[in-house]
C-alpha cells in the first residue's frame, strides 16, 4: 500500500504538497496538482483516514448504542443517524446492548478506545451512572429516546408520560374501564416506566381504580408480549383493553391474544407505542403512539455533530408524540363482558 511519501517521490514534490492536494487543492498550482494526481493514480494511492485521525485527533467516527437492532423502531432511528452521519462523511460504529447494563458499559469502553468522536446512546441503565461519567469526562454524547434528564446532558426524546396518558385516554374514550398494561421491564429503561405513569394518571383522572394485577412487566421481545397478554387474559377479571409499552411487544401481544381465541379488536383492544414502520401493515393495523424515529435519529446525530464542534453546547430536543388510531382498538364490547361474567 503506497503512502503520500511514495506519491511525493514519484511526483517530485514534498509530502506536504501531496497532503495539500488532498485537503485543500485550491492552494496548490494547477500544474503541480495534476502532477500529483497522476502520481497517485500511478501507484494506486489509497488515502489512510486512520493516520489522519491519529494526527488530527478526530476519527470521524461516532458510536451508536442501542438495545436491540431487531426492534424496528431502533432500526429506523439507526437509519436516521446513519444517513445524516454519512452525509457529513462520518462513519457510525454500531453497538448492541441487548438491554444489559454490563454490555452497555463494555461497549462504551470499546467505543471510546476506538476514539469515536461522539456517542449516541439509547441507554439501558435507568440510573444513568455510566452516562454521568461520560459527561464528566467531556465525551460528546446525546441520549436518544431516553427520557430527557435534568442537568447538562443533550438528548432527543419524547414525553413518554404524555404518550402513555394519550394511549390510555384513547382507550377510556372508547368506554374501556378495565385496562391492562404490558410494560417492558422498568429495571432496564425508564421509558416504559414513564409511560406507565401516564397510564396510571389517566386512569386516576377518569375515576378508574388502579389495579396492580393489570400491570405486567416483561422483557422487550415478541415472546414477552405474547406471554404477558396471556397472563393478563387468564386473570379472574381480565382487561378489555391493553396498552403495550411498545409496538414490538404489542405485536407479540396480538399473537398471544389470537392464540387465546380472541378476535381483535372486538374482544380486546390493543394500543402500542412507537408507530414502527410495519405498524400499519399489521393485522389488525395497530393503533399506537407515533414517535418519529427516523427524524429522532437524524436530529440526534445533527446535535451530536454540533456538540463535537462546541463541547459547551447542551441541546435537548423534545419531539411530539401523536396518537394514530387504526384498527386494533374499538369501543368496549359490553355484550362480551357480560357473557364472560356468567
Amino acid at each position: 500500500m503506497s503512502t503520500i511519501l511514495d506519491v511525493a517521490r514519484l511526483a517530485q514534490v514534498s509530502t506536504a504538497t501531496v497532503s495539500r492536494v488532498i485537503n485543500s487543492p485550491e492552494t496548490v498550482r494547477e500544474t503541480t496538482r495534476k502532477k500529483v494526481l497522476r502520481a497517485m493514480k500511478m501507484c494506486n494511492y489509497k488515502y489512510n483516514a486512520l493516520a489522519r485521525g491519529f494526527v488530527t485527533k478526530k476519527s470521524n467516527t461516532i458510536g451508536l448504542i442501542i438495545p436491540n437492532i431487531n426492534n424496528p423502531v431502533f432500526a429506523e432511528s439507526t437509519l436516521g443517524v446513519q444517513e445524516y452521519a454519512n452525509s457529513k462523511n462520518i462513519k457510525v460504529i454500531l453497538g448492541n446492548t441487548s438491554y444489559d447494563a454490563d454490555q452497555e458499559k463494555s461497549v462504551i469502553k470499546a467505543l471510546r478506545e476506538s476514539q469515536v468522536d461522539g456517542l449516541i446512546i439509547t441507554s439501558t441503565d435507568p440510573k444513568g451512572k455510566l452516562i454521568k461519567t461520560l459527561t464528566e469526562e467531556d465525551v460528546p454524547i446525546v441520549l436518544l429516546f431516553s427520557t430527557v434528564k435534568p442537568g447538562p446532558i443533550s438528548a432527543v426524546g419524547v414525553d413518554n408520560y404524555r404518550g402513555g396518558y394519550e394511549a390510555t385516554e384513547h382507550l377510556v374514550s372508547l368506554g374501556h374501564r378495565r385496562i391492562g398494561m404490558v410494560a417492558g421491564s422498568f429495571a432496564v429503561t425508564d421509558r416504559s416506566y414513564h409511560r406507565w405513569h401516564g397510564y396510571r394518571q389517566c386512569l386516576k383522572d377518569n375515576g378508574i381504580p388502579y389495579d396492580s394485577k393489570l400491570l405486567i412487566q416483561t422483557e422487550y421481545s415478541l415472546e414477552g408480549g405474547r406471554d404477558s397478554i396471556r397472563e393478563l387474559l387468564h386473570l379472574e377479571n381480565p382487561p378489555s383493553a391493553v396498552f403495550c409499552s411498545n409496538d414490538y411487544i404489542a405485536l407479540g401481544a396480538i399473537k398471544g391474544a389470537r392464540e387465546e381465541g380472541l378476535s381483535l379488536p372486538e374482544d380486546l383492544s390493543i394500543v402500542g407505542f412507537d408507530d414502527m414502520p410495519t405498524a400499519s401493515y399489521m393485522v389488525p393495523a395497530l393503533t399506537t403512539i407515533n414517535q418519529p424515529a427516523y427524524e429522532m435519529g437524524r436530529t440526534a446525530c445533527e446535535i451530536l455533530l454540533q456538540i463535537m464542534e462546541d463541547r459547551t453546547l447542551v441541546m435537548q430536543h423534545m419531539m411530539e408524540t401523536k396518537l394514530v388510531v387504526r384498527e386494533s382498538t374499538a369501543a368496549v364490547n359490553t355484550a362480551r363482558d357480560e357473557k364472560d361474567r356468567q
Copy 2:
C-alpha cells in the same frame, strides 16, 4: 488525555514496560506491573486503540454493508455479525446502501479509507464489478446472502434457486395453477432473480405454462409489495397464489390483498422468503422459506476473521433453506375461482 508516556513517567518505568502490561502482562514482574497499574489509575489513562491500529496496521474494525437495515432479515443478520465480532473484540461499522450501487461504491470507499480490516457485503451490484476490484486488491471480504459466485470469493448464502422452487412447489401441491410472483427488482440484486428461476422451473416441471403477466418486479419495500399485489389482483385472470421474493415484500402484499377485500388464505395464498423474526407473528402467520439469518451473519463474520488471518483462504458456506408452512397458504379455493369467472 494522558498517554503511556505519562504513565511511564509516573511509574518511573519506560513506555515499553507500560505497553507490556497492556498487551502481555505476564511478561512483566508483578511489582512493576502493579506500579504501572496504579499510575494508570492516577492519571486516568485511556487506551488509544487508534494509535495502536496505526502502528499494527490493524484497526480491529470491520465494515458491514447491507441494503436496508429496516428489513428485519438484515437486522437479524447484522446482530449475528455484531455479536460474533464483539466477542472477538472487533468493532463493526455499518453501511447502508439503500439498494443503490453508487452508494455501495462510496460506502466501500469510505470504509476502506477507514482501514477496516475486512468487509462483509450484501451486494446490490448484480454484475459484481465492485466486488471483483476488492478481491483483486486483496481486501478480505465475504459476501453475505449474495449468491455464491464461482471464482475465488468467500461467501455465505443459500441456494436461492432451490428456495424459489420449494416455495412454488408448496403452492402447486396445494392445487394452485395460477401462481404469481412479486419479486424485488432483478436490476438490483440477483437473489430475487434466482428465486424467480426456481419458481419458473417448478411451474415448468408441473406442466404449468409460464405467464409473464404474473411476474411483477418492484422495489424492496412494504409499499412495493402492496402496490404489486394489487396490480396482480386487477389482472383479467388473477392468481390464486403468490410467491413474494422476501417476507418484507410479503408483508406489504398481505396488506394490499386485504385492502382489495380478500381473505387470506381462503381467497389468496402467499408464500414469502426469509422467515424474518416477525414472520410467525403476522396475521396470517406467514408461510415462508427459512434462511437462518442470524447464523448466516455470525458465520460470515467467523469466516471473515479467518480470512483476515490468512488471506489465501477462500470459504463458501451454503446454508440450508427450509419451507415453513404456517397460515398464509391453503388449498386452492375452486369455488371462488369459479365465481370469479362468471
